[in-house]
């Protein structure tokens, strides 16, 4: 999967989870600041991503932006 395909899928998962328009989700988008997502929202998004991409996101590193997520997935692939 290319980086932009990963991003598209991640974007759709985030938009669905947070009831947002996909357009408001960019690589630079910050979960807390731009999308008013709290830690539980992020847990749910991670869960969906783990299921859909068949990866394990086992990290203590904070996931702050959409790009953090995309990097994780592409690193595991």
């Amino acid at each position: 999967m290319t980086n932009s395909e990963v991003f598209n899928k991640v974007r759709d998962i985030i938009a669905d989870q947070l009831d947002q328009e996909p357009e408001s989700v960019q690589l630079t988008t910050n979960f807390k600041q731009d999308l008013a997502a709290d830690s539980l929202d992020i847990f749910e998004i991670i869960n969906e991503i783990e299921d859909q991409f068949d990866v394990q996101i086992d990290t203590d590193e904070p996931i702050e932006t959409v790009n953090d997520l995309v990097e994780f997935i592409t690193a595991k692939a």
Partner: protein, 304 residues
């Protein structure tokens, strides 16, 4: 088996989010948005035994049943007053249930559903048994630790069950053995300690799967369930499960705002309130699902 009647008892003392914010760095807004909890009842003079006893007495009075007609008393709890004697045994003596055997079980927040499954196996046609979920979690809470202190409350709920010829309720019981100890209480640390992320993700993943397995076995679709009674751990978990099952959130009963997480007591308390309010009607299909420490899940499909 079927439920004859239900009852609940909670400690008198109510502690609000604002009161907690006075003794630890938290806020009503944070607690409400992360968990849905507004207040909880905390035992002062009450004990796990006294709460469970009150429930038992109400059950017998409601049904106009003599204690000598009970075959068994099961109390699901993770916060017993003593390692022994168990609450079930003490209640048995106090109410004069001279024909009943009695025991506690501990499956944390899944305890009530596991106890209901046991009761179904133990009940003979036309016979009676009591199943109670009862907790004084406040004694397992570190009131300096805001990550856990805001979550838990005390209370007790129970049902009087009668054996009948109906088919056994479909159940799904799951154990995931918590190798990393992501949800623990008691032991060397004494207090609740939780890896919030691991526990949250366990719940939102495994509970819908468990409910789905029960429905598949019962050859039903989610829309045929009238009411879902999930363990009241966190309102966000309940919303997430509703979304996963593609069911309207209104079908998921809640009282977490008033009582917090009362572990094994949460489902029977919720059940009792909904029965009292006539929200739950005879003949309706209920899905009860407890989940948490173990890590465990227990789901039961039950017709009221």
């Amino acid at each position: 088996m079927h439920i004859v009647t239900s009852a609940m008892t909670v400690p008198e003392n109510v502690v609000t989010n604002d009161q907690l914010a006075e003794i630890m760095p938290t806020s009503d807004e944070w607690i409400r948005t992360r968990t849905g909890i507004r207040e909880r009842h905390i035992a002062t003079a009450e004990s796990n035994y006294s709460l469970g006893l009150s429930v038992s007495q109400q059950l017998l009075a409601n049904a106009n049943l003599d204690a000598t007609q009970l075959d068994f008393i099961i109390v699901a709890t993770m916060s017993p007053d003593y390692a022994t004697p168990g609450e079930a045994n003490r209640i048995q003596a106090a109410i004069g249930a001279s024909s009943a055997f009695a025991f506690n079980i501990n499956v944390a927040c899944s305890g009530f559903v596991y106890a209901m499954h046991l009761a179904d196996k133990l009940l003979q046609n036309g016979h009676y048994g009591i199943v109670i979920g009862s907790e004084v979690l406040s004694r397992l809470v570190d009131w300096q630790d805001r990550s856990t202190a805001v979550l838990f409350g005390d209370g007790s709920g129970g049902v009087l069950l009668k054996g009948d010829e109906a088919a056994a309720p479909v159940v799904d019981l799951l154990s995931l053995g918590d190798t990393d100890l992501s949800l623990k209480a008691g032991g060397e640390g004494k207090y609740f300690a939780m890896n919030g992320r691991a526990v949250y993700q366990f719940a939102i993943r495994e509970v819908p799967n468990s409910i789905q397995r029960v429905l598949t076995q019962a050859e039903m679709v989610p829309d045929q369930i009238d009411w879902v009674l999930l363990h009241q751990a966190n309102a966000r978990i309940i919303e997430s499960v509703a979304k996963k099952l593609q069911l309207p959130p209104e079908r998921f009963l809640q009282n977490i705002a008033d009582f917090g997480n009362t572990s094994a007591a949460s489902i029977p308390m919720l059940l009792h309130q909904a029965i009292q309010a006539h929200t739950i009607q005879r003949g309706q299909q209920l899905v009860l699902s407890g989940f948490g420490g173990g890590l465990s899940v227990g789901t039961m499909l039950l017709r009221y």
